[in-house]
């Protein structure tokens, strides 16, 4: 438990800087309606984000100089909402977890900002687009920082919605294309479903805490007050009686499930993952920043933040773990057959997020966070690299039209290789290895999760699949026959330095990033797992302490996983470099399975048929035609107007004779009546 936090008013400037930049851009664009020069835009936006990164580093240094038990910086601005016993402060709080998230957001964020300069420079669809894009990016950075720095649930929700909004804006950035606009709306709406869960959970939590006499939304106070309601139960309605453990559930479980819904929405887990693949409609840097590195990890962050709650609610925790595991496998299988390079990356993101949920569900929050970080590295790299490829191929995203590009864009080829290696968890040379190892280990050890061994197996298999489809992507793009058209290849060129520089940095990170906190099992240094230890105070574990296995076992397990990975890689090599004609045949022979994968298990279609169409029909028929147009407009708005008009035209108008004295008579009659009422 942390003691009194140290006031540190640099924190407020970390989100304030991007906000300022965004405001300048926005106000200028809205009021003046002319664009800045691009140099000025770059200076403002990138400058602000890089400055924020520098400040975060400052804050981080400040933080680690404190003794381990009291590593919390706080910066209270003002009381945001104060009403009765409810008060939400606009206050920031930097503990190790949010420190890590902040560093990732600002660090990777600034790299992607720099990259965007080069990427968006090619975009001439709209003359103010460049500034608009950076305005949105800054706004997103601000919201994301609010999210991770928030001291309480309310403020976190502000950031939560903010990132959702920016994601919507950026997915639909090229809104002139109806499909892109549709994708944006889809993302937003699906997120709303999650937000609904989040809100219910938050309200339940606050409500129950208030009943327990501790009304608060601040995280540390919730955490202190939580034991008071840890064992409270709720009576489920009868129609839910079929659920396990019915009719009485622990309150914590219900809240946890609500939060899980929210997290699933934000982090694209089953059943709410469907928006993420479509989110690839946005510009590639957006996919890298929002839909790979930062925003989608908000769900994971929320689960970790609420770790104490999930510890107290094994049912919820198990659900989280299983959702994560299933999602990981499910998405990985889909990714195998996709041919759109960004779609592949999208599904791999979903699958990696599944890993994180898996770990979080198993109570290994530090492992989950660790994977968040490493994933931010290599997935950002992969997206940006893919972006570079797409630029080189003039916005052609279909991998079947690539092939043999390594001769044309060798540098991109090398950095992308680093990314692929990073995600494929190749021992010692990839960031993914150490984090994924911890994830799997946590699943293996989490005996309180029913079927945790199965989860472990799923993780291992998914690892293999991951390696397979990533290398498939790599080989399809850079090796094999040149399937692209002549002139496309003729114009294929390496991107400029401003694009490459971030790629190099990220490449280095995705290869070496794992050494932030490798397990002692692989790096014979005591206290090598500095990352976990650093995060430890945040996740003071309840009930089940993470009991360890011998390093030998750990090594054996890692070896097994690596073996599966190797199989995946070799398979990819054989299929897409050795015998390029095979995959088509396999697909032909396994029609059903192939089509199922190719069509993503028809999930979108199912949702469309089961939910969207009925809902749209209902809204159109009842809500719009019936209630809105009929009841509200007809009876509520136009009705009185018509009535008054009829009345006036019918007789009242004759009162307005234009003869002043007539009005005076009426006035006097009125006053006479009033005085008469006084008389008695």
């Amino acid at each position: 438990m942390v003691s009194e936090p140290h006031a540190y008013d640099v924190l407020r400037w970390i989100p304030a800087l991007p906000l300022a930049a965004a405001l300048v851009h926005g106000v200028w664009l809205v009021l003046v309606r002319r664009a800045f020069s691009r140099g000025l835009v770059v200076a403002l936006s990138c400058g602000s984000v890089i400055a924020a990164f520098a400040l975060s580093c400052l804050a981080f240094v400040e933080l680690i100089q404190l003794p381990e038990s009291e590593r919390v910086l706080s910066d209270a601005l003002f009381t945001w909402i104060g009403s009765g016993n409810f008060s939400a402060e606009a206050a920031f709080r930097l503990d190790p977890l949010s420190a890590v998230m902040t560093l990732v957001v600002t660090g990777v964020g600034s790299l992607i900002h720099v990259y965007s300069i080069g990427y968006m420079d090619e975009d001439h669809r709209e003359d103010r687009g460049f500034q608009r894009f950076f305005c949105y990016l800054n706004l997103f950075t601000f919201a994301m920082l609010i999210l991770v720095l928030a001291d309480n649930l309310a403020l976190l929700f502000l950031g939560w919605e903010g990132v959702g909004l920016c994601s919507y804006l950026l997915i639909g950035f090229w809104y002139s294309d109806r499909f892109y606009a549709y994708c944006g709306s889809k993302a937003f709406i699906v997120n709303r479903i999650g937000d609904f869960g989040f809100l219910i959970g938050a309200f339940l939590l606050f409500w129950s805490l208030a009943d327990a006499g501790r009304p608060t939304v601040a995280f540390h106070e919730i955490r202190e007050a939580f034991p008071a309601i840890a064992d409270a139960t709720v009576r489920l309605p009868d129609w839910l009686a079929f659920l396990p453990g019915a009719p009485d559930w622990k309150l914590a479980t219900v809240i946890g499930l609500c939060f899980l819904l929210g997290a699933a929405g934000k982090s694209a887990q089953i059943p709410l993952y469907v928006w993420l693949p479509d989110a690839m409609a946005g510009p590639t840097p957006v996919s890298a920043l929002i839909h790979a590195a930062t925003m989608v990890t908000a769900g994971v962050y929320l689960v970790c933040r609420m770790g104490f709650l999930f510890d107290a609610a094994p049912g919820a925790a198990a659900t989280v773990a299983w959702v994560g595991g299933v999602t990981a496998l499910f998405a990985a299988t889909i990714a195998i057959v996709q041919t759109d390079i960004k779609k592949v990356l999208a599904y791999s993101t979903v699958s990696q997020l599944g890993y994180m949920f898996l770990a979080a569900g198993c109570g290994a929050y530090s492992a989950a966070t660790f994977h968040v970080v490493t994933h931010a590295f290599f997935k950002a790299l992969l997206f940006l690299g893919a972006g570079a490829v797409i630029l080189a191929m003039h916005h052609e995203q279909d991998m079947t039209r690539y092939g043999g590009l390594r001769r044309y864009i060798p540098r991109v080829h090398w950095v992308l290789l680093a990314g692929v290696v990073g995600i494929s968890a190749i021992p010692y040379v990839s960031a993914g290895f150490f984090s994924k190892d911890e994830v799997l280990l946590s699943a293996f050890l989490a005996d309180h999760i029913p079927g945790n061994r199965w989860l472990h197996a799923i993780g291992v298999v998914t690892g293999g699949l991951t390696a397979f489809y990533m290398f498939r992507l790599f080989f399809l793009t850079f090796y094999g026959a040149e399937r692209a058209s002549r002139d496309a290849l003729a114009h294929a060129h390496e991107p400029g330095a401003v694009v490459m520089a971030p790629l190099y940095v990220l490449a280095a990170l995705s290869v070496l990033g794992g050494y932030l906190g490798p397990s002692e099992a692989f790096v014979p240094v005591d206290d090598a797992n500095s990352f976990g230890n650093f995060l430890a105070p945040v996740f003071a574990h309840g009930g089940h302490a993470a009991h360890h296995v011998s390093h030998a076992t750990e090594r054996w397990m890692a070896a097994g996983a690596t073996g599966v990975v190797a199989v995946g890689i070799l398979l990819a090599l054989w299929l897409y470099v050795g015998r390029p004609e095979l995959p088509a045949r396999i697909a032909a022979s396994a029609q059903g399975a192939y089509r199922a994968l190719w069509n993503k298990y028809w999930v979108d279609e199912a949702y469309d048929a089961l939910l969207v169409r009925p809902l749209v029909a209902l809204s159109d028929a009842v809500l719009y035609r019936g209630i809105d147009a009929g009841l509200i407009d007809g009876a509520g708005v136009n009705g009185p107007a018509r009535a008054v008009r009829a009345l006036a035209a019918g007789g009242l108008k004759h009162l307005q004779s234009g003869l002043a004295q007539g009005y005076l008579v009426i006035m006097l009659v009125g006053s006479a009546l009033v005085v008469g009422w006084l008389v008695g």
Binding site: K653, H654, Q656, S657, G658, L659, A660, Q661, L664, V665, L668
Partner: protein, 101 residues
């Protein structure tokens, strides 16, 4: 206080009634304005009476305000009368009934 307040208020009411009747019955716009002045004066009288009754100056302040308002009203009202006369050659209030349905 020379007389009981009731008498003052009665006088005020009487004057008000006279003014109201004039404003109602007469058709000469100028006379109507004058009748309104009379009504205002009646109100002033009541205010002064109450101010004396409670020994509070506020009532007289109100009277000053009323006087100012009356002055403004007369200025504009007579301006309107002149404009009306200039355009319609009349000061009959019943001829000035353009603002109707």
């Amino acid at each position: 206080m020379a007389v009981p307040l009731e008498h003052v208020i009665a006088l005020s009411g009487l004057l008000f009634a006279i003014g109201a009747a004039g404003a109602l019955a007469r058709r000469n716009l100028i006379v109507i304005l004058m009748s309104i002045e009379l009504m205002l004066n009646a109100v002033n009288l009541a205010l002064v009476g109450f101010s004396r009754q409670w020994g509070d100056v506020a009532g007289q302040i109100f009277v000053l305000m009323v006087i100012v308002v009356a002055a403004a009203e007369v200025t504009v009202g007579l301006g309107i009368v002149i404009a009306l006369f200039r355009n319609r050659e009349t000061v009959d209030v019943e001829d000035a009934s353009l603002l109707r349905w």
